[in-house]
């Protein structure tokens, strides 16, 4: 039988044309739909975790920090489970961040972390330097870093809140003087102070340091409303919100600054202006996008080609803790209230992911006869391509505690 001819007669020409059109279109829809699903909208996977499981994961990560802490209060900086080797490097800013995270655990009623938090804070206090009426932190021969000061101020204020420790508040305020001394008239804040020259290192800014310092200023403003902190923080907020930072520091895109989210949370106690509310909304959008993409990553097959490997825990943690800070802000800020449900959804999702990905006691081989040192450096940690670092645990602890809060406070549907 010839193509295009029916048994009972010739096929109408429009039928042939329509049939070809339908077949072509259906093929395009099927192929396009498959490509669309794989490359553009892979499913967002959100493992379920209860608030108790989320809390347990945060505590297990805190245990990792403490279990691998040296006598002088320094943390295990990094560990490669493929080689079994510890990373001998150290980063004082990340140390200070981890100290602040330990105090966050204490504030969440995990009081057994107080003593190790104090020990790790002690290492920072042993490196205090003073000049021109202010104090900063720097290892011998090294420059003082703005980020270290920012985190140390937050850690000190948290300690003061826990223990009613006036000395911690005083040191925090003295270190706040360092932040203000580094601040420029446009609100930018120089990232280093050089003991050799006795001056701030010109034209050097930190991608995270400005936000860390801003957060510290806002926390100081909260405990000392009459001090200079609020005005200084407002100037730096203007620098961030206006986009001046990106222009001055050479960034091509607006920075999704999770530390600025903490600063907004703290600033919420003083009341936010409309620009700050808009900035909070924008940051929430960035964090949400980051977390949605993370939930689409399986680390397997074609998904790796279109979405990449599951992100470094510190990277996921920063987006999550930034979202958590904005969630707490939104609870008290009616102009952000409509975002609460979506933020809670993102936080629950990423918390489930991180609980799922944490190395458990069983997986680390601890509890087994002859449990190894390696197990001690694995249990409670999150790894990215077989490597974990102190800030992986630090950021995810803050994310998980924030997510737990959101999960417990989310109104029933």
């Amino acid at each position: 039988m010839c193509r295009g001819v029916r048994v009972n007669g010739p096929v109408r020409p429009e039928s042939v044309a329509v049939r070809k059109l339908v077949i072509t279109q259906l093929a395009l829809w099927v192929a396009g739909g498959a490509l669309f699903r794989v490359a553009v909208v892979p499913p967002e996977s959100c493992p379920q975790a209860t608030p108790d499981e989320v809390r347990a994961a945060a505590v297990a990560a805190g245990d990792w920090l403490v279990r691998n802490m040296a006598d002088d209060g320094r943390f295990l900086y990094g560990y490669d489970r493929a080689t079994g080797l510890a990373n001998p490097a150290y980063n004082i800013v990340r140390h200070a961040g981890a100290v602040a995270a330990l105090y966050q655990l204490v504030l969440a009623d995990e009081t057994r972390f107080l003593a190790p938090a104090d020990r790790s804070l002690g290492w920072l206090q042993a490196n205090v330097i003073e000049a021109d009426g202010w104090a900063a932190i720097a290892e011998p021969g090294a420059r003082a870093q703005l980020g270290t000061a920012g985190f140390t101020i937050v850690a000190l204020l948290r300690r003061a809140a826990i223990a009613g420790d006036a000395a911690s508040n005083d040191l925090a305020a003295t270190m706040g003087g360092f932040v203000i001394a580094q601040q420029q008239t446009d609100g930018s804040i120089l990232a280093f102070w050089d003991p050799e020259t006795g001056a701030a290192s010109p034209d050097e800014y930190g991608i995270y340091a400005t936000g860390e310092a801003l957060w510290a200023l806002e926390e100081l403003a909260a405990v000392d409303p009459g001090g200079p902190w609020g005005n200084a923080a407002s100037a730096t907020f203007g620098y961030l919100i206006s986009g001046a930072r990106e222009r001055k520091e050479g960034w091509g895109t607006r920075q999704p600054d999770h530390w600025a989210a903490y600063a907004l949370e703290a600033a919420g106690r003083r009341g936010l202006d409309d620009d700050q509310v808009g900035y909070a909304e924008r940051l929430a959008g960035y964090f949400s996008l980051r977390l949605r993409i993370e939930s689409q990553r399986t680390g397997r097959g074609m998904n790796v080609a279109v979405r990449g490997h599951p992100g470094p825990p510190a990277g996921v943690g920063t987006a999550g803790e930034g979202m958590a800070a904005l969630y707490r802000l939104a609870e008290a800020e009616p102009r952000l209230g409509e975002l609460l449900a979506d933020m809670a959804e993102r936080l629950a999702c990423v918390a489930g992911l991180m609980v799922d990905q944490q190395v458990t006691s069983e997986a680390a081989g601890r509890g087994a006869p002859g449990a190894s040192q390696a197990g001690s450096a694995e249990e409670g940690a999150w790894f990215y391509r077989d490597y974990t670092q102190v800030d992986d645990q630090q950021h995810v602890i803050s994310l998980l505690l924030g997510a737990e809060h959101a999960m417990r406070s989310e109104p029933a549907p």
Partner: protein
């Protein structure tokens, strides 16, 4: 999203000029029945898809915000194709049978990837009135253009109108992607 963007993006996705040009060889007296039925079928399908928008996204394990960005990509590609593509080719033969209301009028002339992804999106994220109303408006406009435009518009007119719709789709795509980035 603004109501204007919802309406205009759906109108551009349904592209009345392209529909009118595609039916160029169909006798005018047959158009009203075939196109009217085809438009009604397309509207029905799009409204059904919109009504099921939430369920579809839930079934796909996709959040509204991710779908908004994905829709922006699909709409953007369609817009670029309309901007840069050649003139719309009329169907090779006139449509005469009632079944032609389903194929090719409803599918694939009106039920296109860009109109379907937008129907899912607006169904899931906008009010029922706005989503259904915008779909109805777009389909009616496309159908009316196909029925009322006789003789078929000239190639230059079709190309200009299609490019205009393409530009509108690109604008809508950018708005969708930006909104998808900023949404929480």
């Amino acid at each position: 999203m603004s109501a204007w963007l919802v309406v205009l993006s759906l109108l551009a996705a349904l592209d009345p000029a392209r529909t009118a040009a595609a039916l160029g060889s169909t006798p005018h007296e047959r158009r009203l029945g075939i196109v009217g039925a085809g438009a009604a079928i397309a509207a029905g399908v799009l409204i059904l898809v919109a009504a099921l928008g939430d369920s579809i996204l839930e079934g796909l394990d996709i959040t509204d915000e991710t779908w908004r960005m994905a829709a922006g990509i699909v709409v953007g590609l369609a817009g670029v194709k309309a901007l840069l593509g050649g003139p719309t080719t009329p169907l090779p033969a006139p449509l005469t049978r009632p079944l032609h209301a389903i194929v090719p009028v409803a599918f694939p002339l009106l039920l296109r990837p860009e109109s379907v992804v937008l129907a899912v999106l607006y169904g899931a994220t906008e009010s029922t009135t706005l989503a259904f109303g915008a779909i109805a408006l777009g389909v009616v406009a496309a159908g009316a253009a196909a029925v009322a435009t006789t003789p078929a518009p000239g190639a230059t007119t079709v190309a200009a109108l299609t490019r205009m719709m393409g530009a509108l789709l690109v604008v809508a795509a950018v708005a969708l992607v930006v909104a998808g980035i900023r949404d929480v």
